[in-house]
Subunit: 604 residues, 2 copies
């Protein structure tokens, strides 16, 4: 703020605010809000001390003293801890809009969340980031919106949009962003390609989020030397240990498919606690509702055996300092401690060992259902994003090649995004390759849905465990083309056409009947309904998927990651099958270019 | 940096730099510099690990790997630790210019220093800050220049300049500043006076350094609630403990007069280490040369019993994170760790227990005497700042009042800035009050020297322990008027006139002879000579001061703080005697306004 600004209305209000802070801190004026007699878990000293906490406006003004307020909360028997920070997530994975994520996660104690609108941006481009900015202006929580840095994620798929360095750089000064989101284009960096280096150069003087799955040794050094600051992709203890030694801020992730806390928590101790934080990355709405969010990670870490003093520090101050949120800037007020001058983001706990939340104070106000109702409505964007013609069973037919030819088959590994690259012979019938449900061998197809080219790629997958029917999804990382798996072409076509009618989402079909569907009309990724409705629909969908005999807890979630070709070993994009062997391939490799090999799915 | 900038020459160089970083980190190209086989004291994990450290340009690009370089340093048997950060000092207290401070402190491992040009600013105003900016552009060390926030420090003295909120705000975007320097005007804040609140408002969205001596309870809460971030004035354990609990970043100080490390070091441990840093505040050149700087604090803390793993973290990463220097910004590159991506500021130690320095690497280059010689010369400013006429013995005469009247007398306490407020009867002779050297009662005078009004204030002081002669100084905190103490008016006049002839500095006089003098012609505060010459002159001066029989280790240093009326209990400014009783007075109180009571010292 310039001094000119300091003389204007805003500055006058600031001065009035300071005056109240001083008066209330001094006890010369009743505080706006006082939490009386609470057990303060001090993440600086590691002590638990009985204290009043006085709040003026959105700022803590007094601790370790006796205060009286115009409003008072009796904190007797409660423990106060600083609000939790989710350091990396894709809101889209919860299948709800940012305003519903706010309603869902804030009561779980997440007062600040750092999200990456990567999924929506792959469908819509910069307008998706702008939609998140607009939403973030109205959430009660502080939703920081990172700048999706790799749209598209690879050159081996058709995305709905591209965002180049110039467009990214234009967004950097927005008050709701910290910097570029997870920088996935490791091949681009190590190959010193312009598309990657231009982005790194544009953000050299800022914070750049990392994405370093299995990246170690020289490659890790090179990524860090370019300014990458953190990583949320560590899944192995030795991998995280190496990163820690090399100064990487480690974001421990507990998503729906990737659950890393059980492996990594032993690294958290008194000395290392400043260098860790918690994140959820991709977490399903069902799990958030059932288990919680960062609060779930806290109670899980403590149950595993981590010291609560370290765990609460990791969830608050450490996360804040990692992103510079522990200091006042032109963009944000400092947070991460219950201390005078800090943002009044406080979680009151009935039991700090189990992280059972009594209530949440955000910006000095107790969070209630009414506070959410008072937020302005932000109209979602990205309706009508499924731009395909009606599908026919023949669209999925695969002509047989040489007799007995061995095929590339995706082999699922339960609970992992990594797949096996199987080489199997596939049955033939009437000159076409056909699924063999009795051997758990199903047909898979990816259909470009952004109206760019109508590519249809097909292949086979093993491991879904159902014997008839089909499941389809418009969520398909990272380009979010349509993906469908099935035992029959007819059911596959019906499943895709159901999503087409719903303009996004999931469908489960069996024998010509739609057993269940979930509409995600916002960019084909998110519902526009309240999270409770979405939750019930998602539950029904999961039950429908069980109805076709899948042995998986949630086969739709697995489906969504089968086009994600930056993850080993075999995936399918709208270009065709893509191989990526870690430590062998320097990046994803298209095994068989299927483009143009069949009629396009474009609207006629 | 805008994207436009990202396409220009600078960005092209950045891209070339990134390319080299990647190649050298990958081992595909010889590194610019490699420290081979060194024991790396890792301040993240607290381990000591043998590793190579590869450096490209000014950036570390590889650790925990084997590297080869165009230049190599054999690190066998050496320990590498991150460069030290001095988080608060007044360069002027070393009596040398910033470029000489660079030469003096950098070889002691201080690769970053955060200074406050408060002394020079009180003489010259904004041009002093600009001189420091200009100097900082050319130092090898990173000299961050905080914006002196309280010029003048009080309304009860005549300073050479004033700096208001508007002027301060204009300087905030300078690349060499972090924010306002120690905010001393506690009375102004608690009294909600515009002069203080305007400054706080102008910097609400930034980092504001604190100055909180003995400030506890509600008053501490109020200061913190206004955004004060840190404090270097804690002298008592309980005081620092309270601040720590309240989230204050504690800058432990080891100056020449104030030595707080011995009291505060027990607070440093594995849990609290992120919240501490080291600073020197006011440290004499003699001590820096004899004992060192932050390196001295490190070895002293370890000798006291602190864990070296904590101590080296405090001296580097903790200090960096405290000021946000641990993250890349538009103003600076991240520092505080020996890790890829961080600024290559590294201290190589022969022995980490004793912090014996083998060599210092700053921005990827080994520091040598030649590297200092290559710096551009910055011409000092502030010559001819002693604007007084020649003094006469009669100028110091004090007419007696009522017979037997009790006088306010400053009582010195060895090793402290705090004084006693004595009430004594003073001998009379010929209608004037006179010193009584046999009872250690000397005359003291302060002479306004900025050419504003020529005020002369006089009084008595007890505790210097000399029986004849006089000592004078143009260093007199914080307004730096001339201050003189003596047993005779003649010697006092000669001492002041010697300083007048030297245009600043110190003089020791006895029986009409100048026993020693030290010229400080730069704003009357600093020498323009190399630190070695200044050091020898300062030593000679100290010996001269001993020659008049003072029992003090360095009476000139004590003299300089006698006008500092923000410190209890009785001081003397050019207005007259000023009382400040902590916990009783809300600010300094002028006991007797002497302005206009005698002929002015202005140049005729």
């Amino acid at each position: 703020m310039s001094f000119q600004a300091a003389t204007d209305e805003f500055a006058k209000r600031k001065k009035t605010d300071l005056t109240h802070r001083i008066n209330q801190a001094m006890g010369a004026e009743l505080a706006d809000l006082v939490i009386k007699n609470v057990s303060l878990l001090n993440v600086v000293t590691g002590t638990i001390d009985i204290s009043d906490v006085a709040i003026t406006g959105n700022t803590i003004v007094g601790t370790y003293g006796t205060y009286h307020g115009r409003k008072e909360i009796d904190g007797t028997g409660l423990t106060a801890v600083p609000g939790f920070i989710n350091t990396h997530l894709h809101v889209e994975s919860a299948k709800i809009t940012p305003d519903q994520y706010d309603r869902l996660a804030l009561p779980h104690g997440t007062t600040t969340a750092i999200c990456d609108p990567h999924e929506m941006a792959n469908v819509l481009g910069v307008p998706a980031i702008e939609y998140f900015f607009k939403s973030a202006k109205n959430t009660l929580m502080d939703l920081m919106v990172q700048l999706s840095s790799c749209v598209p994620a690879t050159m081996l798929e058709t995305s709905g949009a591209r965002i180049d360095a110039e467009e990214l750089a234009k967004l950097r000064n927005h008050p709701k962003t910290i910097g570029p989101a997870e920088f996935m284009d490791i091949g681009g960096v190590l190959g010193k390609e312009d598309r990657a280096l231009d982005k790194l150069v544009a953000f050299q003087d800022g914070m750049i989020d990392g994405h370093l799955p299995g990246i170690t040794g020289f490659a890790l050094n090179a990524m860090l030397a370019c300014g990458i600051l953190n990583d949320h992709e560590s899944t192995m203890l030795a991998e995280a240990q190496e990163k820690l030694r090399k100064g990487v801020q480690i974001l421990i992730r507990e998503g729906t498919i990737c659950k890393d806390l059980g492996v990594l928590w032993p690294l958290i101790n008194e000395r290392t606690s400043p260098f860790f934080s918690f994140c959820t990355d991709d977490r399903s709405p069902l799990e958030i509702v059932r288990e919680g969010e960062i609060d779930h990670m806290i109670r899980t870490a403590i149950r595993f055996g981590a010291d609560p003093k370290d765990v609460y520090r990791v969830a608050s101050w450490s996360a804040a300092q990692s992103f510079g949120l522990h200091r006042d800037t032109e963009k944000w007020q400092k947070r991460g401690l219950i201390a005078p001058g800090y943002k009044a983001d406080i979680v009151l706990l009935n039991d700090f060992q189990n992280c059972t939340i009594n209530s949440v104070i955000k910006n000095g106000k107790v969070v209630t259902e009414e506070s959410f109702k008072a937020r302005p409505h932000v109209e979602p964007i990205g309706y009508n994003s499924i731009k395909i013609r009606k599908m026919l069973p023949d669209d999925f037919k695969i002509p047989a090649g040489e007799p007995g030819e061995i095929q590339d088959v995706i082999g699922l590994i339960p609970g992992k995004l990594v797949t096996e690259h199987l080489r199997l012979s596939v049955p033939e019938k009437d000159g076409f390759l056909v699924p063999d449900a009795s051997n758990d061998l199903l047909r898979i197809a990816v259909i470009e849905r952004h109206g760019k080219n109508g590519n249809i790629a097909t292949g086979f997958v093993k491991g879904f465990g159902f014997t008839s029917g089909a499941i389809a999804s418009s969520v398909g990382h990272d380009s979010h083309n349509l993906i469908v798996v099935g035992a029959s072409e007819e059911d596959m076509a019906l499943a895709v056409n159901t999503i087409r009618a719903n303009q996004g989402g999931y469908a489960v079909v069996k024998d010509g009947q739609v057993l269940g569907s979930l509409a995600l009309p916002v960019a084909g990724l998110m519902s526009d309904k309240p999270f409770e409705a979405l939750h019930d629909e998602a539950k029904a969908l999961r039950d429908a998927a069980k109805g076709i005999g899948s042995s998986m807890e949630d086969p739709t979630m697995m489906l969504a990651f089968l086009p994600l070709c930056v993850i080993p070993n075999l995936k399918l994009t709208d270009f065709g099958p893509v191989r990526f062997v870690a430590g062998q391939d320097s990046g994803p490799v298209l095994l068989k270019d299927q483009r143009g090999s069949r009629p396009s799915a474009l609207v006629a």
